[in-house]
Symmetry: C2
Subunit: 342 residues, 2 copies
DNA sequence: TAATTTAGTGTAAGCGCTTACATTTTTTTA
DNA sequence: TAAAAAAATGTAAGCGCTTACACTAAATTA
């Protein structure tokens, strides 16, 4: 086993140099700073490059030049519309600027995340995109020591050495809860994603509690159920929440996928949404408009976040800019799933 | 501009060697074939590795060892649940086998795709995952010359030098159309993704035409509208399709996202689905179950495809296995959006 | 005990590129 | 036309790693 594949050797800089009858330095210059080479030799070299289908060896280049033009991103999973969407935008900006993106996913596991971060670094990433703030502080120190620009996305941080492009998860949920309280909901339950290693999820629960507190309701009285990121799991979890007494008049969900599951479960139980029970989401992904009733949710500018994250990083790497802390606005999108308390 | 960031130098193999008072070769062996080193030195070395937070330089390693344990994937876009899902599975298998995935997206543009392929190769990808068969044949030749294992996913190919893990887009759509014809639909319209550089989309239209032909209907009479992959665009496109006379009794959609847009548009126009008009999808993503009426669609095992693609590639790289052609089964999922013709 | 193996390490030659510096050629200026 | 400046090119020293080969020390065998 572990037989090396019969990979033909790729042509090297030297091959091109020979073919074009110049030195390797000249070929290298043709590729990296074409304006420092005369028009005639440039043509000859480019011809040879085409002829041989030459493509520079990345490892060698990185080794010699000590920069890679590569930006790493470690996300929990691609199988989640919000990250997929954000990353696509992130990559777009990078490609437009002649850079390359490297992605790795951590499956929400801090240990895997740490490994992936190291992998990306050893691959020469010039900068890193990380999701949220929940990780061993040692990692941030480590990254700072290395002088590696890092942007935290989907959350905000006050750490001065880190950039962030995010939004206030606590505040956004608080506002939504406040709106619900104004509609007369007192028995609110929360259907959350797992919070243990997920600051976004945790902060959303906190935001809801905060709103309750402000209105004189004991925040610890709010039932919270945590479940997996899937419609199916949300359906089950919704059941346990609804069976409580008094039955909640509103189930706030940590994201739209959970909310979609909740809506389906409610329908299956013969409950009218929002007549009998209200449901809210978070994120405003496509799902939110497709399900009926359409979800009242918090709109998060995922694409914009990805785009900005790339720009911030490019700025730090290319222009030595300082870390930036960008807090994007979110807003409540009122659709049909939140109504007055029955 | 273009100032180099103040990146501190990472520790090198040599630093570790010095700290552990051994040669660089020994350190290298500790990392790559630990059983060839005595227990005591191994401990000393590992201690030094930890101490210095050493992580090997990937470029240098690739350069010296001529393999990277890296698998590249070029997909149209991550912002499409089917690819996101498949890729996540693909990566999972790779990580479980100690390999790394590199992703790049092409935005459905053949030229960008070609560039991305080259980028991945120059980064030392040991193998490549590509979507579909639509590309300059020269690229396949080029990859073959290099002896680079390649797997085509989401479609099948008969090219002997390429592996594929896909399904029969023509046949799947044909079956679905046949079922609709049996339900009495004669005026069928097709809402498709852009077909110009997308064999999957094209083959789905072909499958529908084939079914019509078999039942004695002129396949060229079927109206086809192509549109962007988004609910919004599908809504508009649906309008132009429905305004035709005779009004189609069924609009087959090239994928579930388009179908979701179609269903919404129909509802907005006061048309009952499937009472007044039937709609079908393709892919069976979550959306299909969430929208009402739930979509009758073709189930495609996206995750399984990603998983298998990784396994096929690993086999070729690690065990020198021959290319494999895997055709996965799809099946029609009957839900509510397809009914008898009115 | 001497002669072989075997296990554990070290030495040093690249891998394919970039780039500081040296050299040659061309252009400009006096 | 000669000298100086500018432009184009070449030379060669690494970048951080792996690995063939050489070597030493310990374990085995006769």
């Amino acid at each position: 086993m572990d037989v090396t594949p019969p990979k033909n050797d790729l042509p090297t800089l030297e091959d091109v140099a020979k073919a074009a009858r110049v030195s390797t330095a000249t070929v290298s210059r043709c590729l990296n700073s074409p304006d420092r080479v005369s028009e005639s030799t440039k043509q000859r070299v480019m011809e040879a490059v085409r002829e041989l289908k030459y493509s520079p060896n990345f490892g060698a280049r990185a080794l010699a030049a000590k920069r890679t033009n590569t930006y790493g991103a470690v996300i929990p999973t691609m199988d989640n519309a919000i990250f997929a969407r954000g990353l696509q935008a992130f990559q777009q900006v990078l490609v437009d600027n002649g850079a390359t993106m490297l992605v790795a996913s951590s499956a929400y596991d801090p240990e895997i995340e740490e490994n992936q971060i190291k992998t990306l670094i050893s691959r020469g990433a010039d900068a890193l995109l990380l999701i949220g703030t929940d990780r061993d502080p040692g990692i941030h120190e480590f990254l700072e020591e290395r002088g590696l620009p890092v942007v935290i996305a989907w959350a905000c941080t006050t750490e001065a050495t880190l950039s962030c492009v995010g939004f206030d998860n606590v505040e956004a949920t608080r506002q939504l809860a406040l709106k619900a309280l104004d509609l007369g909901h007192h028995d609110i339950a929360f259907l959350s994603a797992f919070t243990r290693t997920n600051d976004r999820a945790r902060n959303r629960v906190i935001g809801a509690r905060k709103a309750l507190q402000e209105r004189g309701i004991d925040p610890s009285s709010m039932p919270v159920v945590e479940t997996k990121y899937s419609i199916r799991s949300a359906r089950e979890a919704f059941g346990t929440l609804v069976r409580r007494s008094p039955r909640p008049t509103l189930v706030m969900c940590g994201n739209d996928v959970l909310a979609a599951g909740a809506v389906q479960a409610a329908r299956d139980m013969g409950l009218d949404v929002p007549g009998d029970i209200s449901i809210t989401g978070f994120d405003d992904i496509e799902l939110a408009t497709v399900i009926s009733p359409a979800l009242t949710t918090v709109h998060v500018p995922h694409r914009k976040m990805g785009r900005l994250a790339a720009e911030v990083l490019l700025d730090q790497v290319r222009h030595n800019a300082s870390p930036r802390h960008v807090t994007l606005d979110t807003h409540i999108v009122e659709r049909a799933s939140l109504g007055p308390a029955p």
